[in-house]
Chain length 153, copies 3
């Protein structure tokens, strides 16, 4: 029997939203799925060699931050918020995004960068980690059409 296939579109590139697609991908492969990821728009940030992912509490009241919104807009606050999130993740034993990404690559997760949006953001292939391939929407549809699960994250 051939393996089940999952295709994941990754559109976001902040520290917090980087986790769901990469956790799904790494778990999928651990369970025997074949996994393909298509990084597009802000999601392309996750393919960069040097990740400097940040997170922001602005516009996300579900974070339950007790810091007033006005204070959150002050210079340096986004960096502080990001550092605190990173510290919390470390304290709870959650892997870095770099580690999770490598785990996925080691498990043969196929990572595609959307060529159109890469050009839009003036990324060149050498900005990305090795192993990333360019692809267009046609490649995505070929993968999605034969997938058992297809998610837009």
């Amino acid at each position: 029997m051939s393996a089940k296939i999952i295709t994941i579109i990754v559109t976001k590139g902040s520290l917090d939203w980087a986790y769901p697609p990469l956790i799904l991908a790494s778990t999928a492969t651990a369970l025997g799925y074949e996994c393909r990821m298509f990084f597009t728009f802000y999601g392309l940030q996750l393919l960069k060699r040097n990740l400097r992912l940040q997170a922001s509490p602005l516009g996300n009241p579900a974070l339950g931050s007790r810091v007033p919104v006005l204070i959150q807009t002050l210079p340096g606050m986004q960096a502080i918020f990001t550092r605190k999130m990173r510290e919390k993740l470390h304290a709870k034993g959650v892997a870095d995004i770099e580690e999770l990404r490598q785990l996925c690559l080691d498990a043969d997760v196929k990572m595609y960068a959307c060529q159109m949006t890469a050009e839009l953001h003036s990324f060149s292939k050498k900005d990305f980690i090795p192993g990333v391939e360019y692809a267009g929407a046609a490649t995505f549809f070929q993968s999605a059409g034969e997938s058992d699960i297809c998610l837009f994250t």
Copy 2:
């Protein structure tokens, strides 16, 4: 013939973004679907006994708010914005999130809390409403793999 199955991942926990997954779930069961929801990251907020969901116009220009962004950052403005959204929903006869959630539970929607992110947010099982079960990504994939529809919301 067995019922069709829908699996919904719920990642957001603001007042406005709480609606799409819960409306999809309640309609699905009304149409005879079997429905499983996996709450993870900010979506865990929707499982709490005491919901205090808020909404924010920041970063969402599609709201068409006429209040200048700078004013929206002032203390108390998020609470005012949330109250106005809630009033509008009531005036239009839209159910509360609490009501929608109960409607889903009454219709045997299975609600899972992602164990890893629950621990990350220091939630314990007694923070959640009765009927919620802990689950990991493996349980999600078992459900997703046999689903007719699988959505990441």
Copy 3:
């Protein structure tokens, strides 16, 4: 053999987030898919006759804007940010949202407006472009249940 079917839920209505569902839809039809789009919540903005889509860097650090958050909250900054994004899209030869939308309609993409959220936002059918039909969640599930790909964007 009958065509493959894709169903896309569109929940966002900012300039940047308008692109993914419309690019997916236009490519899908070019590849022979039958495509149905369900516009709901903020996504209804994309069906309006007069599009005035805006984008905001707030809460999205993946944009990598070098403008401090506090400055981004000042009056007029969202308009400036939107104009710059639009100019960049034009410079790179990316189609307008109006053009992409028309391309989709010309390719027989079926566009549905969610009746419940249209009423919630006090939209009437004449606010929308011709060809848009009202639909409820039941119509969505009928489409989703027979689709090869179903995405929540």
